[in-house]
Symmetry: C2
Subunit: 606 residues, 2 copies
């Protein structure tokens, strides 16, 4: 029954041999990896405006310059990463680059930073997507947390089915959103140029904004930091090169360039519209919703824009569903994450990673009540840490490897490293008190955990290694059959115990029923070879006398292992099983904790 | 750790041999069994008044006659039961009397009725106890469900510690309440007689009650039915004769008489006060609270009465905690309830019964939001069913047994049977639509369940019986060692498998790692006797190829049983165990469902 539910939800198992077929081309890759980067347009500029508005209309004048700065930064990072994907076609995420070129510690920091940010990407994207919808239909605002959690579960299910099907499912929202965004920018700029729209009353009302503070450098930097959320997702391609068809590096690099072009153009366009239309924040209405309403009016195109925004954002979370499990599996194979994260499920996906990611994201959404602005301060610290480490690693890589044009390559990655490093410091400082401290605390804790896990696995590997191993001395084993009473099942169990071959003894633990004389009598009637020991249990607890007896046998008769045979009666259906003691299960649990005891579960049906 | 928590909460285990010491004398028995009967004074008369008030002040005039009728009924039932306890000193509950003298069906009806009523006793008593407190401190009214559930859990814990300690714990509330109740009646009647209290303004206001209906026979009978809740608990002694020290019957009979005397006197006294003081229902204030306030004023004695009422009611639930587990154990030993209900725990109590009872009672409290008036219609149907069956059974008993004075004994039990039978019909008819239908539906369902369980156990017993059993043919067994990889643990497992004695084979399921050539090579290095089979698993699922192989081996090589040896690596602590696959556990679960497969769990530590 659970298996057939699983089949319907996730599809039939896929054979290991088919794994190459599940890879994507450049267009498929764009679909999967672009959603995250593209979608951040929906909240990046918005957060810039929200921060600047603290200084009133004077602050809002800085929105356009910040958007231009963001556009430039996007190009720097993308150019820098282009070199990485070509050089690391088997996956060149910050973790791998740091591991190859810097130190294990740097790779652990990068890994922890990225994993943190992947979880945040899911929470932020889904929350922002729901915000797009509640801007258009405010009645849904109160249900935002429930809707968001349902979305996360839905994305998890799609991903548990496998990667190829994701690309197909996610094509419409990604390209639809890009088309809508370009349309709103082009139409908006054209109408502004022709003068057919001007700042309306609503916005003029917003211009009466009370400045809570003056326009200072810190405020501008904080606004810029918030806007940096737009850059999250750029690194996704580098981490996921593995998902491309050959030649992976070339396909990934072209996706990188395409993404950067579209993304920076969109950020700039939105910046121009915010500037030209004098957009100011309105509670519970997103900036993109305001722009759409101004440009298109509250008609079909406006609602289409909102729905597309929601779709791309909700589906943007999908990028993390490709990357989080993949990075976890990388790290698990290196021995720094629980090994289960590297298990390929029967649909050829890292199902444990998908489940862990969705659970963590749902927790964040619930804790922060699905509010994007509460989540944003935690965001981007991780990704800029990873950017900086990764680009620094690339600089070291070129210096060591040299080869053609290496000076030029060092310069490109060096610029990337410096730029992202500076931005990282700016983000950490300006958003520390607002929530970035959580991430600044979490990443070192994750690093400690990775190292503890790594130590454990190498310790176990060393202990298990066959190098210098000696032959194991022969083991002396006693088979001990636990007899509850005398019945046909006992006869079967005795015959089975005999069939095992080694020495056999039977024990009955006397818990105070009136069975004892009957058992003794019937034993002599039915069994001659095997001796029956009676163990008194004054406290009606089977385990203690049994364990005492086992210890005694091992000490006095020199057995290394005692194999306890627990016969269990199999009933026909679930309700009948409620009518029988499950003492075998409980005994097995307790006995398995005792060294030198093996437990044999023998089920008989009559 | 869980064991030490258990010790602190429940105490150290008690040896079976000590069981006689846990019995109680007459006074201890009164404490344990009287609480239920006595405490019903707190809600019985109240429910009479609530129903009568539907007909306004005219209706309230019938309160005293109904209380007199209840007092008479108490005496009839008690006299009738006195004969039962003497005749059945090993426990003469309705279930046993019906089993011995009527038919199995009658005993099942009695059993189901009593079990239902025991659960209701806990819910009603605890809810009424909390109502006494919220009458005095209305601020607690909103927390009544939480407080009630906490009380049930507390009583369950006390009972899980054992019966003797309960008698000690429950002495103060029982005798304290009886003293308070007698005091309020004596002082109240004296002050009424001397004219120092008269119906006050509050009550005169209540006299302006709007009659919703006229005083009809149905209403009076319904009020009487509700009042019959006062009789619940009378049967407790008969069920629990076993808990008394020898001579059980005599001690139990004197407790019966004592209880009936005190109970009927209290009901009559409260009836007189209701009549004399013109008490009418006030929302969220109990009748006993109104009487107390009138007699003593809102001073120390009033609050003491409320607290004592609460204590006896909450502790009255304890009667059911003695009886429900005991009756369940009776029925389990007869094979009509799951056998686990008859397990004596390490504190010499039927712990499963205690746990089941408290869980059901909490569910009822939560469903009915801790409102006594909502629970009352479900109540008393069960207990009067049991009364009627039990007294009818006694009539048959005397007719069959005869002996000295048997005509007189038949008359006493016959009167009891007729009286309780008539009341049962009255209760079922007048309260059917208000909730009694639930119980009228539940009891037959329980009876069906008892019979199904009985059939299952006799079927199993017949199949397991050694009568006409033949010798079991010798079994051919193959030991199959599951090898995950080549390491020191595998060497130990191989040596262990060899020590078992029978034929051994090793299998490795190939799930697509790059381990295969390494395993083959190392196998030939380390092992010569035992053959290694490699099973391909294209869907990365270990179970299916393994099961196929087992079926094949059984079919082709004629093995009756395949014992699968699952080696499992033991780690040092819980977090390390998270870092290892628990595939052994899951495999064991799946394999144990396959006929002819035994699972051997072998844990190794390095």
């Amino acid at each position: 029954m659970p298996r057939s539910v699983r089949r319907v939800l996730l599809g039939a198992p896929i054979a290991t041999a088919r794994s190459e077929h599940e890879k994507v081309g450049a267009l498929g890759g764009l679909t999967i990896f672009a959603a995250d980067a593209m979608s951040s347009v929906a909240y990046g500029p918005e957060e810039v405006v929200l921060v600047l508005a603290l200084a009133g209309t004077a602050g809002l004048n800085y929105a356009l310059p910040i958007c231009i700065a963001l556009g430039v930064l996007i190009w720097i990072v993308a150019t820098s990463y282009r070199q990485t994907v070509v050089e690391y076609p088997s996956g060149g995420g910050a973790y791998v680059v740091a591991r190859e070129n810097l130190s294990p510690l740097a790779s652990h920091i990068a890994g922890g930073a990225l994993l943190t940010d992947y979880v945040l990407t899911v929470s932020v994207s889904v929350s922002a997507g729901i915000a797009a919808i509640t801007s258009a239909w405010p009645a849904l605002y109160d249900y935002r947390v429930d809707i968001a959690v349902a979305c996360v579960v839905m994305i998890a299910l799609v991903n548990l089915r496998g990667v190829r099907e994701s690309a197909a499912a996610f094509a419409l929202p990604v390209y639809g959103f890009v088309a809508c965004a370009f349309l709103v920018i082009i139409v908006g700029l054209y109408r502004m140029w022709t003068g057919s729209i001007t700042p309306s009353e609503q916005t003029q009302a917003a211009q009466g904004l009370v400045p809570l503070q003056g326009v200072g450098l810190f405020l501008i930097l904080r606004a810029f930091s918030s806007g940096c959320a737009s850059l999250t997702g750029l690194e996704a391609v580098a981490n996921g090169v593995q998902a491309f068809r050959e030649p992976r590096g070339v396909r990934a690099a072209s996706v990188m360039v395409l993404m950067a072009t579209v993304l920076s153009a969109t950020v700039l366009g939105v910046g121009l519209l915010i500037h030209g239309l004098h957009i100011a924040p309105i509670p519970e209405i997103t900036v993109l919703s305001q722009i759409g309403e101004k440009v298109f009016g509250r008609g079909f195109m406006y609602f289409l824009l909102q729905i597309e925004t929601m779709l791309i954002l909700v589906f943007a979370a999908n990028t993390s569903f490709s990357d989080f499990p993949r990075l976890s599996a990388f790290m698990a194979r290196d021995g720094y994450m629980p090994r289960q994260m590297a298990n390929l499920g029967d649909r050829l996906v890292y199902q444990n990673g998908i489940v862990v990611l969705s659970a963590l994201a749902c927790v964040l959404i619930i804790i922060f009540k699905g509010e994007v602005s509460s989540l944003i301060p935690l965001y981007a610290v991780g990704v800029f840490t990873a950017f900086t480490i990764s680009q620094t690693g690339m600089v070291i890589h070129w210096v060591r490897k040299q080869g053609p044009h290496w000076h030029h390559k060092v310069a490109v990655n060096g610029l990337g490293a410096v730029a992202t490093g500076v931005v990282l410091i700016v983000i950490a400082v300006t958003k520390f008190a607002l929530g970035a401290w959580i991430v600044c605390l979490l990443i070192p804790m994750l690093v400690l955990a990775f190292r503890a896990i790594g130590r454990h696995y190498s310790h176990v590997a060393a202990r298990l290694s066959l190098e210098n191993a000696k032959e194991v001395a022969p083991i002396k084993n006693l088979n001990l059959l636990l007899v509850g009473g005398m019945h046909r099942g006992t006869l079967q169990a005795l015959e089975y115990a005999r069939a095992l071959g080694g020495p056999v003894r039977a024990v009955h633990v006397e818990t105070g029923g009136e069975e004892l004389p009957r058992i003794r009598r019937m034993w002599t009637d039915w069994e001659t070879d095997i001796r029956l020991e009676i163990l008194p249990a004054p406290f009606r607890n089977v385990t203690e006398p049994l364990v005492d007896y086992i210890q005694q046998v091992k000490a006095e008769e020199g057995f290394d292992v005692v194999t306890v045979i627990l016969p269990e009666f199999v009933v026909d259906n679930w309700w009948q099983s409620l009518l029988h003691n499950h003492s075998a299960l409980w005994l097995q649990f307790l006995l398995s904790r005792i060294p030198g005891v093996a437990v044999l579960n023998m089920r008989y049906k009559l």
